[in-house]
Symmetry: C2
């Protein structure tokens, strides 16, 4: 069984897609052919979308699924003319909210305000520069400026986590890789001691770490599973002994790790 | 008028929050006090969430809004006991989809599969390393490996765009800053000529560029509005003359720019 799926939005379509995908993962045994239709913000583009959906309907011999976060009435009306089945993520909740608030919704796409965008841009760029220049325990690292300092063994996921926190949330995230010396003593490195409240540890299962390191330096001591296991054990011992909160990155996406860090440290996003 | 809002999910809560926020921006004159409750994946955590919501209800003297993407029945049932108004983004569409497919939904959170996560991790990390080592026209840039090469004047938004494309979509994105020489000739730099199909230009309004550059090097020639305007004019002349597609980053978020680039170049995301 195969079904075509369209995600349609006046903006990026990211919300329509992420809710749609999580709904579809509940249904096994169906192959979904996914299409994203972003920036459908004129009647012409809406009419184009209808054509694409109807074309899929003909080709497939069954109704495509259309997940929509369209806000404008005129565009939603055009889309209702399609042969697809429409799941209207926006309008479905707008009427109940109007009833709850006792006021009418504007039904205008939230125009990204220029000033809001500019402030978010500045916050993100500042955070990004911070993350890039405080990556991997750089000698001049400015931990005093950090919102969070991520620590862990090499390849436990620190750099992507910090860059994601910067780009997505405007958070100042530094990272520090635990050295062989640190791991030998299982004591917190001296330069991190003043910043205990900002520390978060990352751990990972040895087999996964071995797999990741082996992709980078095949058959090295660095990628040896015993080496990986002993580094991780020492890091975890340090986390326990020094009472540092830590997360396991093995089965987590970068979004999940970032969200967990904000949650654990009680940090507010800056954008 | 003030209302408390809760976003609740078994996962990061990103989807609940983004749909919820776009719904709420339709209602003017109300102040929303927003709370994210991620990783509500046990009955205990669901009961905690109910307490927090009910506490807000008492404090506010009116019903909090609860935007939920909870999937598990047992957790959703616990949440229905709250004094908040629940907008159930998941269940609302699950029953219609069951009817459409003629099969029952599993109603299990899409456990991030270990293998899927690993492959996504490898793709993202590979793309991230690529972006970091092909940033800002580095001499050893490997443009042959690029999915896209972003070009533009200094501070037009190239680096955040490339890192976002890497982290979010696993795309190999290089970037090349147009030099004074390039801008003087308004000809495509020789090293980019073999890769015309992968090029995307970024432009920006002079006042915005001036504002951004001034934050970096206040009162410099670099941040002078005339200098900004002339660089941008030359870059745009090059884009037109060399028939390079380009986007304006002035009023766009990094997500919007990234989505536009995928859309313009017809690129498929790798994660």
């Amino acid at each position: 069984m195969k079904r075509s799926v369209f995600y349609i939005s006046e903006g990026t379509g990211i919300t329509a897609e992420s809710l749609g995908r999580s709904l579809l993962t509940q249904f096994e045994g169906i192959t979904f052919q996914q299409n994203i239709l972003p920036f459908v913000d004129t009647p012409e583009k809406a009419a184009d979308a209808v054509q694409r959906i109807d074309h899929a309907a003909e080709k497939d011999g069954c109704r495509p699924l259309v997940f929509s976060t369209l806000i404008r009435r005129d565009l939603r009306e055009i889309i209702t003319r399609t042969k697809g089945v429409i799941y209207d993520f926006f309008e479905t909740f707008t009427s109940p909210l109007e009833a709850e608030f006792g006021i009418a919704a504007s039904r205008q796409p939230g125009r990204s305000h220029s000033l809001h965008n500019y402030n978010a841009y500045v916050a993100r760029i500042g955070a990004l520069h911070y993350a890039l220049s405080n990556d991997d325990g750089m000698p001049a690292s400015n931990y005093a400026m950090a919102d969070v300092i991520v620590i862990g063994v090499s390849r436990s996921g620190k750099t992507p986590t910090c860059l994601y926190l910067a780009l997505q949330h405007g958070i100042h995230a530094a990272n520090y890789p635990l050295t062989e010396e640190d791991l030998a003593t299982t004591r917190l490195p001296a330069q991190l001691k003043p910043y205990r409240d900002k520390l978060i540890g990352l751990t990972i299962r040895p087999e996964r770490l071995q797999q990741i390191r082996n992709g980078r330096r095949p058959d090295s001591r660095y990628a040896d599973v015993k080496q990986c296991a002993s580094e991780i054990a020492a890091a975890q011992e340090m986390f326990h002994r020094e009472k540092i909160r830590f997360l396991d990155s093995t089965f987590a996406s970068v979004e999940e790790i970032a969200t967990s860090i904000l949650h654990e440290l009680g940090l507010k996003r800056r954008v």
